[in-house]
């Protein structure tokens, strides 16, 4: 045997989608050695050593030959260790170390996975993106690390062969002991296992804030909580994913795909059934929020896609970082552009922000005395820019509950009960906005407000009086109506009455108290 050639199909990841990569292995006589070409990055180039050891440890040989491995298309950068497995299989085939079983077409089977030196196969990032892209290319057979199997179990019409060791792959390809394809799992089954991380019944007291959270969830409104340290802002925010409507299959695919690319998926976990909750620290940079890095990774706004982005200590965030949130809040999508990469990530999330009422945190607290001067308080609040506040419909103060009240309070409503009411309100909204491209009240623009928000005459008079008496700003006007629309939806009433407007006015704390 002097010259031999083998071809194996694999996939690389760019942005949220995969792209096919042909792994070509050419083996010839000459000075022994191995070269990988086709713009490999360091981790791909190192696969040479892993593959070598894995093959030897799987009981096969590496004859001393001159080997060239090409990853086509040759003009796209390849990164990550997921090409280990296809390279190993290509080598074995080119060197005549395996006899492919009859009827097996390696160019129609997608292979990817990282190899350990002992031949074990490790899970990789972006498996879901690869499988979805493969399915879009009309491919059906995928051999992938067992650690990635659950994450792709819900993709329809695919034969998934999960593998643990290189030897299993060889046996499967040779036909000595074929692996049965993994049973497909229905998304509904996954969802039944769902358990909210924090249940609302664990939140004691906080009647006002609970109600505000329910309204926010029902209308998809962004929310700002103002309260002293320890008043339970974070706890309340954590409850939000549990009272939002469950993730639909499509939403789950989108979110899991982003998590998979970012390598944030729990090992061995399947599709995400819980809405994501991202709480970046206030030292977060623009790149970490929006996405970036040399290879344009998704940022927190995309990880929070279809879920909740919680920014605690809002005024402490870097000004530029906060300003960068405006575009994803508006468009629900971010485009991350770097020299070598450009990627578009979905980022439609609910923003929940928390902040102290003043620098020391105890302005208006019953627990401790505030030591801040009025100027200090104003300077602190001014850290949050008007344009960002403009995108937050609900602002609510969180009362700090004294210890004795926490103990005495009777059991509170559970997340499931609240989620039921929220789902009903969302259903009303879905029917109302059918065919308009929006699906919840928060997305309504001013024209929409005129069309869908009919105010009763008393409500109108009251809104006007309220604006005069309580010094509300004009930007608050439309927000109050939008929130009132949601409150009416929660009550199941088609028209916005006086009580709805009155309640909605309570959710503009900053307008008429701190911001003078």
């Amino acid at each position: 045997m002097s010259e031999a050639m083998a071809q194996v199909l694999s996939f690389g990841v760019s942005g949220v989608s995969g792209f096919p990569v042909q792994v070509e292995v050419f083996s010839t006589g000459g000075i022994p050695g191995m070269e990988i070409i086709g713009l490999p990055d360091a981790s791909v180039r190192e696969s040479r050593e892993r593959v070598n050891a894995a093959i030897l440890n799987s009981g096969r040989e590496m004859p001393p030959r001159r080997i060239t491995i090409n990853l086509a298309p040759a003009d796209t950068r390849k990164e990550g260790p997921s090409f280990d497995l296809p390279i190993a299989v290509g080598l074995l085939a080119a060197n005549g170390q395996i006899q492919l079983r009859q009827g097996l077409n390696l160019s129609r089977t997608v292979l990817f996975g990282e190899l350990g030196l002992d031949g074990r196969i490790q899970p990789v990032n972006g498996a879901l993106a690869i499988v979805i892209s493969a399915s879009e290319c009309g491919l059906t057979d995928v051999i992938l690390p067992a650690g990635n199997a659950l994450e792709v179990a819900c993709v329809q019409g695919m034969n998934i062969y999960p593998v643990h060791h290189l030897r299993e792959v060889m046996d499967h390809l040779e036909g000595t002991s074929p692996i049965p394809p993994q049973a497909q799992m229905s998304y509904e089954e996954l969802q039944r296992r769902r358990m909210p991380a924090v249940d609302l019944s664990q939140v004691k007291g906080q009647q006002g804030a609970r109600r505000a959270l329910e309204v926010a969830a029902a209308g998809g409104h962004n929310m700002l909580m103002i309260g002293s340290p320890g008043s339970g802002k974070t706890m309340l925010a954590r409850c939000l994913p549990g009272i939002l409507p469950p993730l639909s299959f499509q939403e789950s695919l989108e979110t899991t795909r982003i998590f998979s690319i970012a390598g944030k998926l729990e090992p061995g976990s399947g599709l995400m059934v819980e809405r994501p909750f991202c709480a970046p620290h206030h030292s977060a940079s623009v790149a970490s929020l929006i996405g970036g890095g040399a290879n344009a990774r998704p940022g927190e706004v995309s990880l929070a896609h279809n879920g909740v982005l919680f920014l605690d200590e809002l005024p402490e965030f870097n000004r530029a970082a906060l300003e960068s949130l405006r575009q994803p809040l508006e468009d629900g999508v971010v485009t991350v552009t770097r020299v070598r990469h450009q990627a578009q990530y979905q980022s439609s999330f609910m923003l929940i922000a928390g902040m102290n009422p003043c620098p020391c945190g105890y302005y208006g607290s019953r627990q401790r005395e505030c030591r801040c001067s009025p100027q200090e308080i104003r300077r602190y609040l001014d850290q949050v820019s008007g344009p960002l506040l403009d995108r937050i419909d609900i602002q609510v103060e969180v009362d700090s509950v004294p210890m004795e009240e926490i103990r005495s309070a009777e059991p509170a409503e559970s997340s499931a009960t609240v989620a039921g009411r929220v789902a009903a309100a969302r259903e009303i909204q879905r029917n109302r906005y059918r065919g308009t491209g929006i699906y919840c009240n928060a997305q309504m623009d001013n024209a929409g407000i005129r069309t869908w928000c009919e105010l009763s005459p008393e409500a109108e008079t009251m809104l006007d009086t309220a604006f005069r008496r309580m010094n509300l700003s004009m930007r608050a006007y439309h927000r109050v109506i939008k929130v009132a629309r949601t409150i009416a939806d929660l009550a199941g009433s088609p028209r916005i009455g006086m009580m709805e407007i009155a309640e909605a006015i309570q959710y503009r704390e900053l307008d008429h108290k701190y911001w003078g």
Binding site: G205, Q206, Q207, G208, R210, R211, S228, P357, Y363, G364, S365, R366, E369, R371, C372, S373, P374, Q375, E397, V398, D399, S400, V401, E405, A409, M462, T465, A466, R469, M470, I487, M498, M499, E500, I501, A502, E503, I505, Q506, E509, H512, K513, Y514
Partner: protein
């Protein structure tokens, strides 16, 4: 007093000459314009004995035309008046006071001081309760024909002026900087109102003088000096308010102290003063009784507590809330629990009551009834 005289007074006050020296000078020559003319004509000679060298140098420098014109422009632009201790309109309460300023600059009218006066002092960083109480008491005093004096600072000072403006009496602000300075800038509107409503803004500092830190405790002696008595609303142990109390004691004024919250740092000074024998007061009537002012007005006009039954037009939910708030402020959660009302209904009810002026929202999601 004509423009040139005012300019001459600005010149005279700008050199840091001690008040008693200035008094001697003005007693010999009451017309400041003549003093300036003489200084220019004869040089330093007529002044030499009394005035320190450094001040003489400043007088020489400031006597040049450009400087005098700057003062002239400030006086025109900000409508600044001046009065010296040798003149009749000079506030009688300051006569004979130790370290009384010889020259005062003012905006508004000096006749604002022609009635009983109370100086109200307290922290810039005051509690909501303290500022509210101050506003209320100042208003009651004002309704009963008593003028309120304070320092135009944030917190208690501002509340005292605002409360007084709600009544019928004028209010007087004593500044720690030249009258051309807008300090604090946020109170430009309040200051305009004080003057429009027949009040007085005065300062011993030459126009153009910056609001330097040490000016303020020093001008406090004028605040206490102009009042018939001193009312302390909220004072920490080490604070400007406590220096005002020192000045007032030296001037032989009565000290009235509002009881603050026990244990609160903000009113530690109040409690110390009360222990040392200051007069306890919680309302305008207390103060007026002790000052023997009650005979001057037939009846003390007081704010009355609004009771739930006085509001027949209130809805059942609103009446419940009013009743619950009778004994003082409550937070949203406390109301929720007390009335067993759901959060949505309570929110709506509270909004309506805020709009109709029955209650007021306090920071920390607490609510209180509006008095009167």
């Amino acid at each position: 007093m004509n423009r040139n005289q005012k300019i001459s007074l600005a010149w005279l006050s700008s050199a840091g000459i001690p008040a008693d020296t200035l008094q001697h000078l003005l007693a010999e020559e009451p017309d400041p314009e003549q003093l300036l003319a003489r200084f220019r004509r004869e040089g330093e000679r007529p002044f030499r004995e009394e005035i320190p060298q450094s001040a003489l140098r400043l007088l020489t420098n400031h006597a040049e035309k450009g400087m005098l014109e700057t003062w002239g422009r400030m006086i025109d632009r900000f409508d600044i008046n001046a009065v010296t201790c040798t003149e009749d309109p000079y506030p009688s309460r300051l006569r004979g006071m130790p370290e009384a300023p010889a020259i005062l600059f003012y905006q508004g009218t000096l006749s604002a001081l022609d009635q009983p006066t109370v100086s109200m002092v307290g922290s810039r960083n005051a509690s909501t309760k303290g500022t509210e109480a101050c506003r209320k008491i100042a208003e009651e005093l004002s309704r009963n024909g008593i003028a309120v004096i304070s320092g135009l600072a944030y917190g208690i000072d501002a509340a005292a002026h605002q409360g007084c403006l709600k009544g019928k009496s004028p209010t007087i602000a004593v500044l720690g900087c030249g009258l051309d300075q807008e300090y604090p800038a946020d109170h430009a509107g309040l200051r305009r109102q004080i003057i429009e409503r027949g009040g007085l803004v005065l300062s011993e500092y030459t126009p153009g003088e910056k609001p330097l830190g040490w000016h303020f405790p020093w001008r406090n002696r004028i605040i206490s000096g102009l009042g018939d008595c001193l009312a302390v609303m909220e004072a920490r142990i080490r604070s400007g308010s406590m220096t005002t109390v020192q000045h007032a004691l030296n001037q032989g004024k009565d000290i009235f102290v509002y009881p603050g919250e026990p244990g609160s740092l903000r009113s530690e000074g109040n409690h110390q003063l009360l222990r040392e024998g200051a007069i306890y007061f919680t309302c305008a009537a207390d103060l007026m009784e002790d000052m023997n002012w009650l005979d001057k007005t037939a009846e003390v006009e007081q704010n009355t507590v609004l009771r739930a039954e006085d509001r027949p037009d209130a809805s059942p939910a609103e009446k419940q809330v009013l009743l619950a708030l009778d004994r003082g402020e409550l937070s949203f959660d406390q109301l929720c629990e007390k009335l067993n009302m759901n959060a949505a209904l309570l929110s709506a009810t509270l909004s309506m009551m805020q709009i109709s002026g029955l209650i007021r929202a306090l920071p920390g999601k607490r609510y209180e009834k509006i008095q009167g």
